[in-house]
């Protein structure tokens, strides 16, 4: 059994920043400045702007690395940098401050590191686009906001970054805003996030009403004072916020649509970083979830449900980016499942990091395929590409082996730990969650193998006149680096860095308490068998005979449902959109006829009937002057009356 030692200290205190850490604000300021220069500088910056944006993110990475090393050398690993007093109103006092601790430091490296590689990749990918500068301005804006999200030292500061990344995501999904589908997808993403934001907002209000503060330090120090009900309420509200941002059930439908954005955006924002912010939020709020078993369990259940949904739909799509998107939904489901298990938070973060590498790698490889195939995304129009794009094939292959969890690739270490932790919960919940995670691994292997087979193997099903070619170095080098990350990051983070130990000041200590439900060796073997089954199934289904260029019609009901996102979109439409539209129309009618009519009638009545109203309308100035005069006369009369009366 796994045991979790809650963060023992009753009060959590952060030490003041000094040394290299006193300039932490630079991390956010550098990309923010880059974004501002590119946006305000106009066309003058077209030529060197994209390079500047890369340099800003690169500089942030270097500084992040220095800060990280500095933090590793410290005894007190929660460092707070107070910047200024942000909203000081009576009892509600919010400071703008940054918290640099193992958790945020880890995220800083992920965001700036992967972010920098994707910036460089975009130099090649977006080449020739007339709005390349704008693209890089938005990318820098995203990096700045995401860093604020993970560095903010209060829930309110986090909220600013939270909405900032939402804005950047909106802008980038709608980058090709002249495409109606892109505009709709962007709006959908923003609205789904807003639904989550309601949860986050109310959670902050509850915290303030209960504890009089919104800072991490204040809330977490006093989390023990919360009643069980309040802690559960806060936990569930935070979860709602996390579901919106991370595309978790029931708010998952925006994420696949978000693939309307350019592929580097899908890699950075909608796979590696932003969509994992929900996991960050839950992990960050560990001291609250320590006090509410219910909310923590709901987190795991939501993760499990989403994991299944993502897997099933991932099998049905032919659009390579949508398959990857649903795979992201499903992989984040794994992270939610883990982060809800007491003591397994570190494994959620481990999977988040390895996923950051291998999913970014796969998206960039997919982008490289599209680059060579005239932006074709239909896998039924690919085939046999391994000969024409060897580097892309190798990189996608590395990502693929990592996501299905073949040792020694990264996903093997992180996913196995999650399955193991789930079983170790014990009881019914342990068996259910563990089995879902285990079977999910098999389905993941199935649809990912399908993707590989349809893209790189089999017959060539290209449309006329296509000449697949390998992408330029500026794109392949970042891909190769990410592929290396997909290979080594799992082992490295778990055994070289010892991530669970490193994160323990934030997430609590992970203790090996008692025997495992299923022994590690047996479980690992079982997982590998399930994965092998998934791979074999896909090869059997798609590898033996040529893939038809149109989707088959005679399919199982599950496939039909999966192709329609399991009807979640239709459900939203018929439950929310349609009634909303009718309500709005009815209200507009009423407002024009009802309330207005009544008041018009009243006004006419006071004026002495509608005929009088017309007369007022014609000679209005005179009438008004008269009314003023009349009013004044009434005043004088009244005043006189009062004076005479007293």
């Amino acid at each position: 059994m796994l045991g979790a030692a809650p963060l023992a200290a009753e009060t959590i205190e952060y030490v003041a920043a000094d040394g290299p850490l006193s300039y932490l604000w630079l991390l956010i300021a550098l990309p923010a400045l880059g974004s501002a220069i590119l946006l305000l500088g106009g066309r003058r910056t077209d030529k060197w702007g994209p390079n500047l944006a890369c340099a800003m993110t690169g500089a942030a990475f270097v500084y992040g690395l220095i800060s990280f090393l500095d933090l590793r050398g410290r005894a007190e690993q929660s460092v707070d940098l107070h910047l200024f007093s942000w909203i000081p109103v009576a009892g509600f006092h919010v400071d703008a401050g940054l918290l640099f601790d193992p958790l945020s430091a880890t995220f800083v490296l992920l965001i700036t590191g992967v972010g920098f590689l994707i910036h460089v990749y975009s130099l090649g990918y977006m080449d020739g686009d007339p709005r390349k500068r704008i693209f890089f301005a938005y990318l820098n804006l995203f990096v700045a906001a995401m860093l604020l999200l993970v560095l903010g030292d209060s829930f309110l500061a986090l909220y600013v970054g939270w909405e900032g990344v939402g804005l950047a995501s909106y802008l980038l999904i709608a980058f090709y805003f002249y495409r109606p589908t892109a505009a709709t997808a962007a709006k959908k993403a923003f609205i789904a996030n807003r639904v989550g934001d309601v949860g986050l907002s109310i959670a902050i209000m509850v915290m303030f009403a209960a504890l009089g503060t919104t800072s991490f330090e204040g809330v977490f120090s006093n989390a023990g004072a919360l009643t069980a009900g309040t802690a559960t309420a806060i936990g569930l509200l935070l979860l709602l916020g996390a579901c919106g941002k991370s595309g978790q059930f029931p708010l998952q439908t925006w994420l696949p649509d978000a693939m309307e954005g350019p592929t580097p955006v899908s890699a950075l924002i909608h796979a590696a970083t932003m969509v994992t912010a929900g996991v960050y939020l839950i992990a960050r709020a560990t001291p609250i979830f320590d006090h509410t078993e219910t909310a923590a369990l709901v987190v795991s259940i939501i993760g499990a449900i989403t994991l299944v949904i993502g897997c099933i739909i991932g099998c049905a799509y032919d659009d390579i980016k949508k398959v990857l998107a649903y795979s992201t939904v499903s992989q984040i489901g794994y992270m939610f499942l883990a982060v809800g298990i007491p003591g397994a938070g570190a494994f959620a973060i481990l999977h988040l990091l390895t996923h950051g590498f291998f999913k970014a790698c796969m998206f960039l490889s997919a982008g490289s395929v599209m680059h060579g195939m005239d932006d074709q995304v239909d896998m039924r129009r690919y085939g046999g590409l391994r000969k024409y794009m060897p580097v892309t094939y190798a990189c996608m292959g590395a990502g693929y082996l990592a996501i299905i969890g073949l040792p020694p690739f990264a996903g093997f270490f992180s996913k196995d730990k999650i399955i193991e932790s789930a079983y170790d919960l014990g009881g019914t919940r342990g068996w259910v969650l563990g089995t879902v995670a285990l079977l999910g691994a098999g389905v993941t292997a199935f649809y990912m193998t399908r993707l590989m087979v349809m893209t790189f193997f089999g017959n060539e099903r290209w449309t006329e006149g296509q000449h697949p070619h390998e992408s330029p170095k500026v794109m392949t080098v970042p891909m190769v680096l990410l592929a290396v990350g997909s290979l080594v990051s799992g082992f490295g983070l778990l055994y070289v860095v010892d991530l669970p130990q490193w994160l323990s000041p934030v997430l609590g200590h992970h203790e090996e308490a008692g025997p495992h439900t299923i022994s590690v060796v047996v479980l690992t073997a079982l997982t590998l068998v399930v994965v092998a089954g998934g791979v074999a199934g896909a090869v059997y289904a798609f590898g033996r005979r040529p893939v038809p260029t149109t989707p088959p019609v005679a399919v199982t009901p599950i496939t039909v449902a999966a192709r329609k996102n399991l009807y979640f979109d239709s459900l939203n439409e018929s439950l929310l959109m349609r009634p909303g539209q009718y309500l709005t129309r009815a209200l507009v009618f009423l407002d024009n006829r009802g309330i207005d009519g009544a008041v018009n009638g009243l006004a006419a009545g006071i004026g002495g009937g509608s005929g009088r109203l017309r007369r007022i309308q014609t000679g209005f100035v005179r009438s008004y002057a008269l009314s003023m005069f009349g009013g004044a006369a009434v005043v004088v009369a009244a005043l006189l009356a009062v004076r005479l009366g007293t």
């Binding site: 946006l39 509600f92 002249y178 109606p180 209000m205 209960a210 204040g218 129309r585 006004a603």
Partner: protein, 524 residues
């Protein structure tokens, strides 16, 4: 002490006279004088703000002179923190409006300058009168916030209508006279109620032995409960119409839609704030018992207004009506803040008044820029404008995001303060109001998607992007919203002490954190 408020009131009047004296053939001179005057007022206002001591007396720059001594009517002015920031808002918005409305009274001048504008209107309109009216309106607006004598306040409250009536009625859209009359009828009705209440207030104070209109003296008095309720309702309804609060809002969409864009900015940005300012200045401190008793009712109206205004905004086809309806929702938030009776909520409400002036001002301006180019107010007549006018579309987006209170912009600070302050007393109301932020995102993003995104309509392929004059007009508003979004302290430092006085008059205190373990030291 410098009589800042009187100076501020006089300067625009002098400017208006100077504008009126310019020859009819040189409209440019009139415009230049108006702009310079408004900039002088802005500078003077900034100097006044520097001179203001947040921790000093409640009312500063006080002047009192007998006016109608037999009835105790005084020319009495003074500014507390609330009035100060609203006067500053006026001073910021007027030059912006003048710059943005440069050609609104004589569009043919713009056409001859080689740019596209609306078709030449059916009748000649006096250019100098337009700008003189704006300046007169500025005096009235400053006066209404500066007055500390209830009668003087009433005079400004009514007189303010006249320049606005002419701005809408003479320089507005096709249905301008209907809108102007409707605006005036509503205001007049509210004004009459208020007049009755003002007289009643005098009578009530006379019964206590001292007939007075002086704010300071009135707050010292304790009126009977029934008197309080009656007078409260008189003032409240007058202010609710002005604000406008649901269900007194139906004049606003018409007036907002038909007013010339500069008039709309001042109408929604400032004039309407007199209503919510009145809640805080008069309804709460003068009738604390009635205010406390009736607060749940007002809160209910505000929450309905937030959701109702947002739903109505979603259903509008006319851009200016849409923006007007968003304001109905925003005024719901402001009202909520005023009546939640916590320092956070009231400070948030005042901050909201300022931010809403900037935000809706910017949104109205950019809608105006669009309408001037496209010659239509209908959402459906635009599509894909972002492709030909990226700057306009960018400004539109930022203004829209401020309207939906995106964190990082100043509107978020005020909205969140209102919500967090409300939650401490009225959980359900706060939660319902928070749901309103989803609707806000919907109406803004739907409007943005329909007009700026998607395929470009053929009719607008040659639409011009914003010109320098227009950028200079709207730019400062966006800059202020970003600056105050990250650093609202200068404003909250001024507002909070004033709100504290209001809370004291009202006799309520902020609730303490409900579950704080007192054993552990509270760390904020």
């Amino acid at each position: 002490m410098t009589p800042w408020l009187t100076i501020l009131g006089i300067v625009p009047l002098v400017g208006a006279v100077a504008v009126g004296a310019t020859p009819r053939r040189s409209p440019l001179l009139a415009k230049q004088i108006a702009l310079v005057t408004s900039l002088v007022v802005l500078l003077l206002t900034l100097a006044m703000c520097v001179d203001f001591e947040p921790k000093g007396d409640r009312f500063q720059f006080v002047q009192k002179h007998d006016w109608i001594s037999s009835f105790g009517v005084q020319y009495a002015v003074g500014a507390d923190g609330i009035a100060l920031v609203l006067i500053a808002l006026v001073a910021v918005l007027v030059p912006v409006v003048i710059l943005a409305s440069w050609y609104d009274a004589d569009p043919e001048a713009e056409s001859s300058a080689g740019t596209d504008g609306p078709p030449v209107p059916e009748r000649k309109r006096s250019v100098k009168t337009f700008f003189a009216l704006l300046l007169v309106l500025e005096t009235m607006m400053i006066g209404v916030f500066a007055a500390t004598d209830v009668f003087l306040f009433y005079v400004f409250f009514e007189a303010m209508l006249i320049p606005m009536y002419f701005l809408i009625g003479s320089y507005g859209g096709p249905k301008r006279s209907y809108a102007a009359v409707k605006f005036l009828l509503y205001s007049l009705f509210g004004g009459l109620l208020m007049l009755a209440a003002v007289i009643g207030l005098y009578v009530a104070s006379a019964r206590q032995g001292l007939g007075t209109f002086e704010f300071d003296k009135l707050t010292q008095m304790e009126f009977s409960h029934s008197t309080q309720v009656l007078l409260f309702l008189g003032f409240f309804i007058a202010f609710a119409i002005k604000a406008p609060l649901f269900p007194f809002h139906t004049w606003l969409p018409d007036a907002g839609a038909e007013a010339p864009i500069g008039g709309a900015v001042l109408l929604v940005g400032v004039l309407d704030k007199v209503g919510t300012f009145g809640f805080l200045r008069y309804c709460l401190p003068l009738f604390p018992w009635a205010a406390r008793e009736l607060a749940p009712l007002v809160i209910t109206l505000c929450v309905i207004g937030i959701l109702y205004g947002a739903l109505l905004a979603m259903g509008q086809k006319d851009l200016k009506r849409l923006v007007s309806y968003t304001s109905v929702a925003h005024f719901g938030f402001i009202g909520l803040g005023c009546f939640a009776f916590t320092t956070q909520a009231q400070t948030g409400a005042v901050l909201y008044m300022v931010n809403h002036g900037l935000s809706t001002g910017a949104l109205f301006l950019v809608v105006g820029f669009l309408v001037v180019r496209g010659r239509s107010r209908l959402v459906g007549d635009y599509s894909g404008i972002g492709q030909v006018a990226p700057v306009l579309s960018g400004v539109f987006l930022v203004a829209g995001l401020s309207s939906l209170a995106l964190p990082g912009l100043s509107t978020f600070v005020s909205e969140f303060l209102v919500l967090v302050g409300t939650y401490q007393r009225y959980q359900v109301a706060a939660i319902l109001a928070t749901v309103g932020i989803i609707f806000a995102a919907l109406y803004i993003l739907l409007m943005y998607q329909r007009t700026m995104q998607g395929t470009l309509s053929a009719a607008h392929e040659k639409m011009r992007d914003l010109r320098l004059r227009e950028v200079l007009a709207v730019g400062p508003l966006l800059a202020l919203m970003i600056v105050f979004g990250f650093y609202p302290k200068p404003l909250t430092d001024i507002i909070t002490p004033a709100v504290t006085h209001t809370m004291e008059d009202l006799g309520v205190q902020d609730p303490a954190p409900s579950q704080l373990n007192t054993a552990t030291t509270e760390k904020r």
